[in-house]
Structures are given as structure tokens and as C-alpha cells.
């Protein structure tokens, strides 16, 4: 982003705001009347110009804004359009190019939050749009210019998952001379592709094309494979992640094992090989497959009986070490790529199909291994019950996919691999009768439809219909597949010797845990979520962490490889930059308000900070302070501080209260105020919009970074102002983007429930919820329920309740009024003369604001251990020592 010009005195010049209302073609304009919103915006204080545009984000739209900035001398801009996730960066860049500080901007989402969800209440949707614009204008009035925060970047990448996606990413990064750690949880890299026989649509041997790449990874000087390892802990932020990887003990020394395999020859223990889908055995000391990289053996301690035969066989190489312990490797990493792929779903849950009960019902991955020359039967395709080649075979698609009972989504590659396996078997056994039960055949890839055509020509039968049941003949072990043939409308009962199920792909085991460790959201199933499904498909919402391959959702090999390269590109953008700018929306302490500067012993901010960013020295007379580079800007400490001594840039109490006042200026008792976090809940509310889930238009959102930022005072202020209902909504606690912010919100808000109830606020009028980014339907339902409560009580009822609570609320809000900025605002609202208070607010700004913005140098007080500060890279050793750190 371009640097701001210095000519504008944002702090002292009166606000000059431009408001732009977007039509979004007809997306907004067909429901909301933009001209009405524009006319209304012109009446708002500080607004000097208001306009509408068909596409504000288009070139002409942006030029219009930039021209107005010059022409009208605007120092603040509001765009009423779509979601912040979509275009906030666009418009920030736009005004920045025109010389404004990019933070002098606010967006009102009148598309996802209004036109798309209130299409049946056009007038009310327009009213809502006006309120949202008023709130944006109110907030932008109080925003301050901020400088992006510049942090150093460690030029080192971490890739989690060594499938073909991770391999591709690693090789590309290594080509750019970037040191790359590839963490793989199994003993070898290769992933699922290594298990496949041939690959569609070209039918080349899977391991033959993958193995050379695996070897390249193993030999590359820039790549370090950490196999049999898992990522346990990740701290830090883009450019500066601190990662802890656990290396599980393999009881074989990597530097000594030559991969000769003499040990496995003498090992008495045979257990099912997961790599062979349990169709064949491996030893207790094993490599999963012949082509393993690294080619180092591993002892499976669950199977080992400690006979030490292997130790004898290994002999003088002495590569076996039963005393090995788990080891933690600590890495400094600049960017992370998630490439953890998928697992196959266990279809025994579908009892009607009898997988796990009927021996000859198999999964398609088993079929891959059964006809693979490297497989347990050396390529002879036999059925499990008697080891004979079946004469006929039924393949069933969409097993557990596209099925509301199990997984609603399409697993993507099953159509193609089912056809592939049918074709391969037809080549190998021309007499084999192969029948595919399908719902639809989906072949959108390049040359994929032609592939399907070839299968039909080869004589493979397709029956449209999802089988209802499979019944085994207990004597012959043959199977009768029952289905309704949709084409003929007739019931089919087909006897076959073997059945293959195209079972669903599901996220890799442990995906939720990894999501939590990385603070990257998973969808309801566990697939990793992208920052934007169209425009940022390889980025996660957490900066510096990227996605590749099936970890994000089922993907075939060409797509996984492309994504691997794509993610490497996204990561190298950061890694090659040397320095990176991050959002300065961090918290800061007003030293004079912190009670510790008056000898207090408060440690609340220290305890709640999920990132250990607070330097807290209770009892020393030193005020608490926040390490800018460590603060992630959740705002939990801001909300928790009993002295209101902490504020957050761009989400100050004053700014949020200003939004509240704007939204509740008229008919407050009819309105539902929703505080949502920027991540899951905010995206969930957007998801309700993109899915067009209707809900009443009396609802109003205020966006904060985390539910943890929602101060009890905000809720009370909303009720003091007469609100009908208030919602606080965050991520599901385990998905919180700030580790524990959502949990602190929980404690705080739960306490508030009892207090508000005592004051006479009916229970349904105040709620705390968790909405994930995919739970648009849930968001709409909550909105409907809360509107219903407001409707039921009626304006009279609500006013009566609020009036009763008013004296107590006012009393309890006294302390918030002491926050300089809030005080200023409230006095404005109460009609005090502007001149008097302006000096007050200037003083407050002088104190609070000048403090920490844009700091990359250590400003810590004498601290005992400043090695916790992640500015370490910028901090010279002498300074560190001078400050008492290590």
C-alpha cells in the first residue's frame, strides 16, 4: 500500500466525508433504492458529498471516488456495498492511491446484510441501508490514520503434509532457493497418490510419475523432510512463525539406517499394512512401500514384541535404538502451507451396504491396491472371500457423498476414478462384466468427458440409481445389489461376485486439531477454509498461511499439483519480500489510566491475552504495556480492563459506541443489534447473504475483530439507548481465531446474563451465539428468533423494560464515560457545545494515539525476559541486554 501523504491534518481538520452507495448491478439496486440512501447520507454530519454508482468497485467507480477526494478535499470515505471480506482491501487501496490514509475508510455491507436477505421487505431494507451508512459515517468520523506495521520476514517455509500437493509446493519453493521444511505425519511422503495404480485420464502409472518427484524432494538441499512428525504448536504471525514439530520416535536412527530391510526379514510380527488398505501385511519394523522417501525403517511399537531379532539383523550398522524418545524441533518460519489432503470415509456406517460384514464388498482404494502390480496380490485382481478373480463386478458411486445422511458435498474425483478402475479391469480381464451404479457422471476436467465416452464404448454398463441394499449369499459369498433404475423406473436386483464402493473423501484425520494449532478455520466437515472462495482460494484467513491440494476440499492430482505451485507462489510473495506490512489494529495501554502505574496489582490483561503480548509488572508502579508485534488485535484485553485503560486502534470504545448511537438513533426498541466477530460469525452472516437466507430487516450488525472485544459496557449501552435485543456472536469456541478470545467473551457475557435479567431485561432479548462461516442458515434462524422476541414484547413492552433498567444501566456505565473519546462522543450526543470538548479529545488523542503505531523497535520497559518479544529480529543484542533480556 502506498504511504499516506502528510498534508492532511486528520486530527484537527473537521471531518470531510464522502459516501458512495453501490448498486452492484441489480444485486443491491433491485431491493434497496440507492438514491434514497444517498439523499439520507447527505444529511449526516460531516458528509460533504454522497453519490451512487452501478459498480463502485469498477475502474470508473474508483476513479470517481479518487476524483472526489481531490475535488472536495475529502479526508474520510464510506462505501456502502458488499462484504469487507470482498472489497475492503480494494477501496482501502483506492483511497490510499488518492493520498488518503487507508484507515480513513469504512464499509457498510448493504448487500450480504441487506438486499440479499431482505428482498421481500424493500422499504425496510432501504431503511436498514440508511442506518448502516449512518453507522459507517459515525465510525469513520472517529477513526485515526494508522501506518502499516512493518515486520521482518524469516525466509523459510513450512509445508504440512507430503502428498503430491505438498511435494509440488516444496519443489517450487526450493527452486526459488527458499529453505523448506516438509512435515509428514506418516513414515514416508507421497500421500494418496502413491497408493493409486494408474491415473485418469492418461492412465499412466501413478507411483512411476510420483516417485521421481519424491526422490527429488529427498535429495534437494533446500528441502528438509521431517517424516513421522506432527506440528504441535504454532505461535507468531506472518513472516515470524515459531513452530514446534514433534518427531515421533521411529526407533531407527535416520543417519544410520540404509534401508536395506534385513530387519524386516527377521521380524516375526505381521500386522495389516494401512498403505495396502489392510489387504496385505507388513512387519512390525517396516517401510510402508518400496518407494518410500525417506527410505528409513520404522518400528510400530504397538505391534513390536521386543524380540530384538531386528537388532541382531541390523548388526554392525547399529541403526536400531529402542531408547529413542519423541523429540521437539523448533523452527522459525516465514510462511506455512497446509497440504494435509484427505482420508477415505469408512463406509461401514451405511449398514445396508454391508462393508466390513460382507467380505466381497470393497472400497475403491482397495480395488486400486488389488489391481496394482505393486500391491499385495502383485496385481492379480481377486475377491477377498476366496482369492478368485471375480467374473463380474458392480461399482457404486456417491457412497456417503451427496447424501444428506453423511456428507452433503460431492467428493469430486470419484466419478473419474470409478470409470478409470472399470476401464483398467476391462483391459486386464476383457470378460469381466462391469456395472457402474451412478447418480450423475461429472466429468468437467480437460479430456475427462472423452474418457467417459471411451468407457461406454469399452462396454462398461452404467445404471442410473443409488442402490438401496446389498445382500450376501452366505454360501457363494456373491452379492445381490438392489436398486431402482431411474431410466426405466424398474427395480434391479443384480447378482455380482464383488462390489466396489466409491466412498466419500473426508478431511484428513486431525484436521480440526491442526486448524486450531494454526488458527485457521475448518468448515463443518473439517476441510480448511479459504480466505475468499473466488479471489483468494489459496489463502487462509490467517495471513501467511496458505492452502494446497485436497486439504481444502476433494481435488484430483492435476488440481492438487497446480494448487501446490500456486500456494508456493503465494508464500514466496511474502518470503521473498524481506519485510511485510501487517495491520496495525492492535491494542495499546493508556499508561495514566492503568492502575498499576499507581501501584496497583492488576494482571487481568496479562491473563486474558491469548498471545502473551502484555508486559505486566503488577506492584512495581509500572503500567502494563503491549508488545505491538505480538498483539494480534483481538481486543479481549480491551474489553476486560476494569479501568478502561486499554484501547484498540480502529476498534476503540468511542468508535463502537458511535456506531451504536447511529444505529439506535430512531425506533431503537424495534431493532436487534448484533455484535459479530470478523471471522466465523461475520463470514456466517455473509454466508446467509450469499445463500439468500431471508430474515427480518430490523437487524443491525456491528463488526469487531473477535467476540472477545465485546465489552459488557457496549451491551448495556445498547439497552440504555433502548435497543430491542442484543446478540453477541463469535466463532465456535474451538475455532476462535484468537485461541481463547471467544472463551473470555463467554465468561464475561454469561456473567452479564444474570445481571441483565435482574435488571428486568427478558432473557430472549440478549443472547450469545456461535456461528461458523458456513452456518448462514443458523445465522438467519437466530436473527428470526430474536426479531420474534422483539415483536412479541412489542415496543411498549420493551420500552417499559428498558425504562426500568435505565437508572442502573446509567450508573454502571459511568466508568465508560470516563474514557476520553467516549466521553467526548456522549457529550456531543447529549448536546454539549462542540468547542468545549474538542480540546479534551485532542488531549486524549495526544496521549493515546501517538503511542505505538508503526513501532518496529523495542519500546519495552525494563523487562526480565525480553526474549519473549518477537521483535527480536529488529532488536539489536546490545539493546536486549540493556533491557535485561536474554
Amino acid at each position: 500500500m502506498a504511504k499516506t501523504t502528510r498534508e492532511i491534518d486528520y486530527e484537527n481538520d473537521p471531518p470531510r466525508i464522502g459516501v458512495y452507495v453501490c448498486h452492484c448491478g441489480s444485486n443491491i439496486a433491485s431491493v434497496i433504492t440507492p438514491s434514497e440512501v444517498v439523499d439520507y447520507a447527505k444529511t449526516l454530519p460531516g458528509v460533504v458529498v454522497a453519490k451512487e454508482h452501478r459498480y463502485a468497485c469498477s475502474d470508473p467507480g474508483q476513479s470517481m471516488i479518487q476524483q472526489d477526494i481531490k475535488e472536495y478535499g475529502l479526508n474520510r470515505v464510506v462505501v456502502a456495498a458488499c462484504s469487507v471480506a470482498m472489497h475492503e482491501p480494494t477501496f482501502k487501496a483506492c483511497i490510499s492511491d488518492a493520498g488518503l490514509n487507508p484507515f480513513m475508510f469504512q464499509m457498510a455491507n448493504i448487500r450480504e446484510h441487506s438486499s440479499w436477505v431482505h428482498s421481500h421487505e424493500k422499504a425496510a431494507a432501504t431503511e436498514k441501508a440508511k442506518d448502516l451508512v449512518a453507522a459507517a459515517v459515525a465510525k469513520v468520523t472517529y477513526v485515526h490514520p494508522l501506518e502499516m506495521f512493518e515486520v521482518p520476514v524469516t525466509r523459510r517455509a513450512l509445508i504440512v503434509g507430503g502428498g503430491i500437493a505438498g511435494i509440488s509446493a516444496a519443489l517450487d519453493l526450493a527452486d526459488m532457493n527458499i529453505e523448506t521444511y516438509l512435515v509428514e505425519k506418516s513414515p514416508t511422503i507421497g500421500g494418496r497418490m502413491a497408493q493409486l495404480d494408474k491415473t485418469f485420464p492418461t492412465m499412466d502409472c501413478s507411483i512411476c510419475i510420483e516417485a521421481p518427484k519424491m526422490v527429488d524432494v529427498g535429495k534437494n538441499r533446500n528441502i528438509h523432510i521431517l517424516s513421522y512428525s506432527e506440528v504441535k504448536e504454532v505461535n507468531g504471525y506472518i513472516g515470524n512463525f515459531k513452530v514446534k514439530v514433534e518427531r515421533k520416535p521411529r526407533y531407527v536412527l535416520e543417519d544410520k539406517c540404509t534401508g536395506c530391510g534385513l530387519c524386516a526379514e527377521v521380524c516375526p510380527i505381521d500386522v495389516p499394512n494401512i498403505f495396502e488398505e489392510g489387504l496385505g501385511p507388513r512387519k512390525a519394523i517396516y517401510v510402508p512401500m518400496a518407494q518410500a522417501v525417506p527410505s528409513i525403517y520404522t518400528i510400530d511399537m504397538d505391534a513390536c514384541i521386543k524380540c530384538f531379532k531386528c537388532v541382531d539383523a541390523c548388526g554392525a550398522l547399529s541403526a536400531i535404538d529402542f531408547a529413542q524418545q519423541p523429540e521437539i524441533v523448533e523452527l522459525d518460519i516465514g510462511a506455512i502451507i497446509i497440504a494435509t489432503g484427505y482420508d477415505t470415509w469408512d463406509p461401514s456406517e451405511i449398514e445396508e451396504y454391508g462393508f466390513g460384514v460382507y467380505e466381497n464388498v470393497t472400497t475403491m482404494m482397495e480395488i486400486e491396491r488389488l489391481h496394482c502390480a505393486g500391491g499385495p496380490t502383485v496385481g492379480e485382481f481377486v475377491r477377498p472371500s476366496d482369492g478368485k478373480v471375480p467374473k463380474n463386478l458392480a461399482l457404486i458411486q456417491c457412497v456417503g457423498s451427496r447424501d444428506k445422511r453423511y456428507h452433503e458435498y460431492c467428493s469430486g474425483f470419484c466419478c473419474m476414478y470409478t470409470i478409470k478402475n472399470a476401464m483398467l479391469l476391462k483391459w486386464l480381464y476383457p470378460d469381466m462384466d462391469i456395472i457402474i451404479f451412478r447418480i450423475d457422471i461429472r466429468t468437467p476436467g480437460k479430456t475427462y468427458e472423452e474418457f467417459y465416452e471411451r468407457a461406454r464404448e469399452a462396454g462398461i454398463h452404467f445404471i442410473q440409481g443409488r442402490p438401496s441394499e446389498i445382500v450376501e449369499d452366505p454360501v457363494t459369498k456373491n452379492l445381490v445389489v438392489h436398486a431402482e433404475n431411474i431410466a426405466t423406473g424398474r427395480h434391479v436386483a443384480l447378482e455380482v461376485e464383488m462390489v466396489g464402493l466409491a466412498n466419500a473423501a473426508i478431511p484428513s484425520e486431525g484436521s480440526f486439531d491442526l486448524g486450531r494449532v494454526l488458527t485457521v478455520p475448518n468448515d463443518t466437515y473439517g476441510w480448511f477454509m479459504e480466505s475468499h472462495p473466488k479471489l483468494k482460494p489459496l489463502d487462509t484467513p490467517t495471513e501467511g498461511i496458505y492452502l494446497a491440494g485436497a486439504a481444502q476440499g476433494p481435488k484430483d492430482i492435476p488440481q492438487s499439483v497446480s494448487q501446490g505451485s500456486g500456494a508456493a507462489g503465494r508464500a514466496s510473495r511474502v518470503l521473498n519480500a524481506g519485510k511485510w506490512e501487517i495491520d496495525p489494529i492492535i491494542a495499546y495501554v493508556d499508561p495514566e489510566r492503568c492502575i498499576n502505574s499507581r501501584g496497583g496489582k492488576c494482571d487481568i490483561c496479562y491473563r486474558v491475552c491469548p498471545y502473551g503480548a502484555v508486559i505486566n509488572l503488577p506492584g512495581t508502579g509500572q503500567p502494563s504495556s503491549i508488545i505491538p508485534a505480538k498483539c494480534h488485535g483481538c481486543g479481549t484485553c480491551v474489553a476486560e480492563c476494569p479501568q478502561n485503560a486499554i484501547s484498540q486502534h480502529h476498534f476503540s470504545d468511542g468508535q463502537i459506541v458511535a456506531q451504536l448511537h447511529a444505529l439506535l438513533a430512531e425506533k431503537p426498541e424495534e431493532k436487534v443489534i448484533a455484535f459479530t466477530c470478523r471471522w466465523c460469525s461475520g463470514m456466517g452472516a455473509d454466508n446467509a447473504g450469499t445463500s439468500h437466507f431471508e430474515y427480518p430487516a430490523n437487524t443491525r450488525n456491528i463488526l469487531v475483530m473477535c467476540a472477545g472485544r465485546v465489552d459488557a459496557d457496549f451491551v448495556m449501552e445498547a439497552f440504555r439507548l433502548g435497543a430491542g435485543a442484543v446478540l453477541v456472536s463469535g466463532c465456535h469456541p474451538q475455532d476462535c481465531h484468537y485461541i481463547s478470545g471467544r472463551n473470555f467473551a463467554d465468561t464475561r457475557i454469561t456473567r452479564l446474563f444474570a445481571q441483565l435479567e435482574k435488571l428486568g431485561i427478558s432473557p430472549g432479548r440478549f443472547r450469545l451465539e456461535s456461528v461458523s462461516a458456513t452456518e448462514g442458515a443458523k445465522w438467519a434462524r437466530i436473527m428470526r428468533e430474536m426479531s420474534a422476541v422483539v415483536q412479541e414484547l412489542g415496543p411498549e413492552g420493551i420500552r417499559a423494560e428498558n425504562e426500568k433498567a435505565l437508572p442502573q444501566l446509567t450508573k454502571r456505565l459511568a466508568r465508560m464515560r470516563e474514557v476520553p473519546e467516549v466521553g467526548y462522543l456522549l457529550r456531543l450526543a447529549d448536546g454539549a457545545a462542540l468547542k468545549d470538548v474538542e480540546t479534551g479529545v485532542k488531549q486524549a488523542r495526544d496521549k493515546g494515539l501517538g503511542q505505538t503505531v508503526g513501532v518496529t523497535e523495542c519500546q519495552l520497559p525494563e523487562a526480565t525476559a525480553c526474549d519473549t518479544c518477537q521483535l527480536a529480529a529488529a532488536c539489536a543484542p546490545e539493546t536486549k541486554q540493556a533491557k535485561g533480556g536474554k
Binding site: G278, C307, E366, P376, P384
Partner: protein, 320 residues
């Protein structure tokens, strides 16, 4: 359920673990009619897959035998238990053939045990008595060859036939050790151990009293398991060296030996030579740590001297 998962079926008579892959099929069967709940299986199993199911006593008699249960998640089909089971209750099959992988891969020895029949030294008139007398019914008459045959798989080497045939059968037992009965310590009226003893070493004599003929004892220890006076144990660690590294194993030692009416000690077992940590570990847990050489020798001398008396009267040496 995945392919290759172990499936367990359990009936009154048997517990079967079945693990079927396409190229490998392993089964492990516990014949509960043969099992006497002696604790050797649980002791020997390297994966702690076998658990002891205690006996149920009623008025000093056995109402339900002690037995075992198996955790299919833990068993790795090594076959150690099937080698060591003193009553041959455990059979392991690999692809339909009887096999103990630990033996096949020389991680476990063959036990030195046998039962040989010398037709010439046998008085055929005692045929029916000898056949009847076998506690495990493994002796049969081969009319064609006019000789007696022993089903070696199920013979428990109790030596009943040896005595009954006046030495025409010669039995080599794998275990050496001692068994001691002190009736004065018994719970009044209890005969439970006589009910479980697979060899009739412990039995009820003509007077209705519990008696021990220790020559028959195979040192399985089932009697100690059913005895209402329980052994108290303390854990201790035994270390041993293997390929230059020292390993330690947990073992238990009985602390109230002097209060137990029946005590079985296993001192040594005859076996072929192997190099295997698994075997060392099994021995540590099976054999008594106090089994000092002198002790063994003293008892052995005693036994030799009194052998004939013991054979004839079928009475305990230590009783005298």
C-alpha cells in the same frame, strides 16, 4: 471397520480371534474347556492382550473355572501364548496351518518336552486302565499295530501314564520347579484346587482329604489362582542385557509365601537355544526369581531318592 481388523467371537467353549487380509489369514483360538486359568498366558503375552478371569468358588468347591479373556485390539498374533500354554488350550493358525510366528522366526524356542511309549515294556493287560487314567484323554489304542498312541498336541505331560504303565511311557516335562501343599494353612473344607488341577496332582484322597502327588504336577499354577488365600505381590524391576543395551522388565514377587497353602514355583524350562529379547522377557515373568541353583539341586536329590515310593503311593514327598 477396516479390512484386516481383528474380529473376536466368544462362546462358552472358545474365544476366537480372526484377522483376515487377502494374502494373510491369522486365527488364534482359546479352547476354554482346556483352559484352567493358570495365568501363564497373561504373564507371557508381550502386549498384555490376555486378562485373567477369576474363578467362582462355592463352599470350597469350584463353581466356575478361572479363565481368560482377550483384547482383540492388542493381540498381534505372535503365538507366544500358544507355545507356552501348559494345557495346549491355545492354537494359532496362519493361512489355515498351525504355526507360531515367534518360533518360525526363531524369536522363541521349541520347548523340550515329550512323551514316548515303549511297547515292549508295556503290559497290555493294563491297557484300559492306562487309557482311562489319562486326565486329558489323549491315549488311544491302535488296534492295527496293537500299540498305544498319544495325541502329542494335547498331551500335557503330567506323567500319569508313566506311573500307570510302570514306566512304559517316558515323559519329559518342560518345566522344572516345586509344588508345596501345607494343608494346615487351607481354608477349612476347601477343595477348589483339586477341582482345577488338570493333572490330578492335587486330588481328594480316600479319606476325603486334599492330597498332593507332586510328581504329576506340570507347574501350571492354576491351583494358586483358585486358592481363596491369595498371594500378595510387590512389583520389582528386572534388568537384562541384549545386544549391548540394558532393558528392564516389570515383574511381581509374592510377599506372603509363608501364608499360602499351595505354592508352585517354576525354576527352569527345557528349551532349544534362541537369541531373543521376547524369550528373555517371557522367562523373567514366568520363572521364579528365587529359583537358586542350590535349591533346585536339593529338591532334585530328594526326588531321586524317594522316586519309587512316590510313584507307588502317589503321595506327596513333602507330606512325609
Amino acid at each position: 471397520m477396516r479390512r484386516g481388523a481383528t474380529v473376536k467371537t466368544k462362546t462358552e467353549q472358545r474365544i476366537v480371534l480372526d484377522r483376515k487380509m487377502v494374502t494373510l489369514h491369522q486365527t488364534q483360538t482359546w479352547d476354554l474347556d482346556r483352559c484352567v486359568g493358570c495365568q501363564i498366558g497373561p504373564l507371557v503375552c508381550p502386549k498384555d492382550a490376555i486378562s485373567h478371569v477369576p474363578a467362582v468358588l462355592e463352599n470350597g468347591r469350584l463353581k466356575q473355572r478361572a479363565s481368560v479373556d482377550i483384547d482383540p485390539e492388542k493381540c498381534v498374533f505372535c503365538g507366544m501364548c500358544s507355545v507356552m500354554c501348559p494345557t495346549n488350550a491355545i492354537t494359532m493358525l496362519v493361512n489355515g496351518k498351525e504355526e507360531a510366528p515367534v518360533q518360525k522366526y526363531e524369536a522363541f524356542p521349541l520347548l523340550i518336552e515329550s512323551n514316548k511309549f515303549n511297547r515292549d515294556a508295556f503290559d497290555m493287560s493294563r491297557r484300559d486302565f492306562v487309557i482311562e487314567n489319562c486326565p486329558t484323554d489323549v491315549i488311544s489304542y491302535d488296534a492295527k499295530a496293537d500299540t498305544l498312541k498319544v495325541d502329542q498336541k494335547y498331551c500335557i505331560r503330567c506323567r500319569q501314564c508313566e506311573v500307570a504303565s510302570d514306566g512304559a511311557f517316558t515323559v519329559v516335562q518342560p518345566w522344572q520347579g516345586s509344588v508345596t501343599l501345607r494343608r494346615e494353612l487351607c481354608v477349612e473344607g476347601c477343595l477348589a484346587c483339586a477341582d482345577i488341577c488338570p493333572t490330578r496332582a492335587l486330588h481328594v484322597d480316600e479319606n476325603g482329604a486334599l492330597a498332593l502327588a507332586d510328581y504329576y504336577c506340570i507347574k501350571c499354577g492354576a491351583c494358586m489362582q483358585v486358592c481363596p488365600i491369595k498371594a500378595e505381590v510387590e512389583p520389582y524391576e528386572v534388568s537384562f542385557e541384549y545386544a549391548g543395551t540394558t532393558y528392564t522388565r516389570e515383574h511381581e514377587r509374592i510377599t506372603n509365601l509363608d501364608q499360602l497353602p499351595i505354592v508352585v514355583e517354576r525354576w527352569r524350562v527345557g528349551h532349544t537355544e534362541v537369541q531373543s529379547g521376547a524369550w528373555v522377557a517371557a522367562l523373567i515373568r514366568l520363572a521364579d526369581d528365587k529359583a537358586g541353583e542350590t535349591e533346585i539341586d536339593r529338591k532334585r536329590a530328594l526326588r531321586r531318592r524317594d522316586l519309587l515310593t512316590a510313584l507307588k503311593g502317589g503321595r506327596s514327598l513333602l507330606d512325609k
